[in-house]
Subunit: 200 residues, 2 copies
């Protein structure tokens, strides 16, 4: 059976970076946005549409008539969300069955539970996450500290809702993971060899 | 500064065993019941009395008059509890300043927070904890599965109350630890080298 490492992570905790470095060190495949890329290659869907569905809150399972009656925009319909989730799940399973790999986010720990992946959850305290976001730059440099904190909290709430909706488990609850790593004041280069040992 | 590893653990998760093996592997001191032994050597207190205080629920800080008015037994008085906690804390600090060590339980992660210990939390799913308890034997072999589960839940509730009372933090909440390790279906001999890597 392939070695599969799934990574759940708080925004700003460095989980994605840690996953990428771990895959490099182990010389195995790495999937994050790559899953979206495969999905848009295989379907008619636009990248912006898939990302919007991934990043926003899943609605409760309303019937299509109810959704229309309440004027919910077309791309918010639960059928579309479920379809994207289902197609992403199929890609995740296909990749996991193909070779050893690291998969970030997208409920991979749950989707692949029968393949016994090593399920990591990466987290940190708020100060550390804010510093990491500021150092990384992107679109957060213009934000005040308060706004940045609100953004981090809001993204994690979305992730929690997304995870709970599709898995019926609590996102970040340690019982759903094999190893939870606090990256506060820790360096990636120190953590990678230790995580590697857990995988062997 | 000494290397200090503190271990919080769910009952039956194997946290104590893991701590003992880790100390052996690293060839450093190990403190668990040893803290009680030092305390009773230094004071007039009986071991059974100290264990009772450690293992039962800390009362809210009532005045001595209130405690007497409500007929609360003498050894339940908060002054006695606080005195044992304070003396244990002093011993924990003394040991941590003396040499590298592993310390199990007793809010050591909080007591030694200024010494920057590596704070581990060891947990597992209920089935795994029940199996570990049954294999270990002791006083649980006569219990039905239901009673054993109740015992595990009850001991962890006591630990949670004790920890929250003295630290104002939530026991087992991953943000209070550097590394949370799920021992479900994992072997000690596989985990020790990985934890060792985290310490280096």
């Amino acid at each position: 059976m392939n070695k599969i490492i799934t990574i759940g992570r708080e925004f700003g905790s460095g989980g994605r970076e840690l996953g990428r470095r771990l895959a490099e060190k182990l010389n195995i495949a790495y999937y994050d946005r790559e899953i979206v890329e495969i999905l848009i290659q295989r379907t008619e869907l636009a990248e912006s549409y898939v990302l919007q569905i991934e990043e926003s809150r899943p609605l409760p399972l309303l019937g299509i008539t109810t959704a229309r009656t309440f004027g919910i925009p077309n791309n918010y319909q639960p059928e579309n969300r479920l379809s994207v989730y289902k197609q992403e799940s199929e890609i995740i399973r296909e990749m996991a069955e193909k070779s050893d790999c690291v998969i970030v986010g997208r409920c991979a720990d749950y989707i692949l539970r029968d393949l016994n992946p090593l399920r990591l959850f990466i987290y940190a305290d708020m100060d550390s996450k804010m510093i990491r976001c500021q150092e990384k730059g992107d679109d957060v440099t213009a934000l005040t500290a308060k706004k940045l904190q609100q953004k981090i909290t809001s993204i994690d709430k979305q992730r929690a809702r997304y995870y709970q909706f599709y898995t019926d488990q609590i996102w970040g609850d340690k019982i759903n993971y094999d190893l939870c790593i606090n990256t506060t004041k820790r360096k990636f280069e120190d953590m990678i060899p230790a995580i590697e040992q857990f995988i062997i």
